[in-house]
Symmetry: C2
DNA sequence: GTCTATAGCAGGATAGAC
DNA sequence: GTCTATCCTGCTATAGAC
């Protein structure tokens, strides 16, 4: 196999990811994927054995590495700030996971795929949890826990972190939902306001009001 | 048409909802639905014209009325408490939408369906937004806004409300995710702790620390 | 490694008996 | 209103030429 980034195998992976994200596994046919990837239908079975396995490879070779790029960007930010404060940690989180290495389009696809998996798990979720969620949870715990000793038990802290993940995941839909609910349109620079909101709401949620704010 | 609650049409609607929630529209076949509903395949087309329309009827006749029952339960709670405080309003919200009129199973299906729609909207989302999200947003705005005049603009307040909705939606998955991430198991009474968490986190998120707490 | 051709099956929908 | 039987399309997967 060549390392060419535009070979058939890679084109299939990228096209498949976009389509799976947009429509979901069952709504996308192998025909549709290979048409869009400008290759033959049989190529999917040659390179991936089955449609199911193509789906899993999308996560293993596309999704997880991309999530890890965001994780790296986050931990690099963390290593730069000293001393830490909840404020700076959450800022770094929002910055890495919302305006970090990914474009808006990439980020949208990325979130859609994982929301589908969470809502309707397949085997990959184990792999994804092991390689991405767990490490992210660990690093957040390590950097935030010291500031919140009032969280006597593990579970209470975990729920806080999961709530922040929940808001992060639904980030994609904030703008359409605002339009749906209030019926108003919004201008650009919306994303920046969204990040400001996320940082404030999450910090408050954690119970960090007035704690090491700057 | 009879008002019998166990006629074929109703059985199809209920079975279809459960299966659509579990697996998603495209992963469920009409054959599967009618098998589970113990009726003939042709019944779907007789009663609903098409699979697509059956899906939409599930939202119109099952999902929206169920969401409205929770809404009614919420607004009834609100009318009982006087004077209001952010604390009591959020308590009433959590109580109506998490331990209200629905069983855990119903609630799970209910959330799964709407998460699918938000992630991958079809035509029904307009109908759903008009009949459920918008009224809920309005009533929350009416009861919470007076306490948060510091939210100068509409958008900032809307983002707060949407963040709470995000956490509510995510509720289903908290327990499996905790197990995935931390690898620990949890006992029952988990739901009660989750509601306590949601109320505290949301209140803090809104910036209500120490504001009319009781 | 990529193609054509096709096997083999499952999907939604409908016609028409009862 | 419910059934059986069937149509036809579109699906995944594979065999085999190049």
């Amino acid at each position: 196999m060549t390392e060419n980034n535009n070979n058939t195998k890679n084109r299939i992976l990228e096209t498949a990811e976009a389509l799976f994200a947009q429509k979901g596994y069952h709504a996308v046919s192998v025909r549709e994927i290979t048409m869009a990837a400008k290759c033959n239908m049989a190529a999917v079975n040659y390179h991936f054995n089955s449609k199911k396995n193509l789906y899993m490879e999308v996560f293993r070779t596309q999704w997880v590495p991309r999530e890890l790029r965001m994780y790296e960007s986050f931990s690099k930010e963390l290593s730069k700030i000293e001393p830490h404060s909840p404020n700076l940690v959450i800022q770094a989180l929002a910055s890495a996971y919302l305006e970090g290495p990914l474009t808006n389009e990439e980020l949208k696809r990325h979130r859609q795929l994982i929301i589908r998996e969470i809502n309707n798990p397949t085997e990959v979720i184990e792999y994804v949890a092991d390689h991405t969620m767990r490490p992210l949870y660990r690093i957040l715990q390590q950097h935030l826990k010291p500031f919140f000793p009032e969280h006597s038990n593990e579970e209470s802290f975990t729920l806080d972190i999961l709530s922040i993940f929940g808001i992060l995941l639904y980030f994609n839909y904030s703008r359409p939902m605002i339009t749906h609910i209030t019926g108003e349109k919004y201008d650009n620079a919306f994303k920046t306001r969204l990040i400001t909101h996320l940082v404030r709401f999450s910090l408050n949620g954690l119970g960090a009001n007035g704690k090491d704010m700057q």
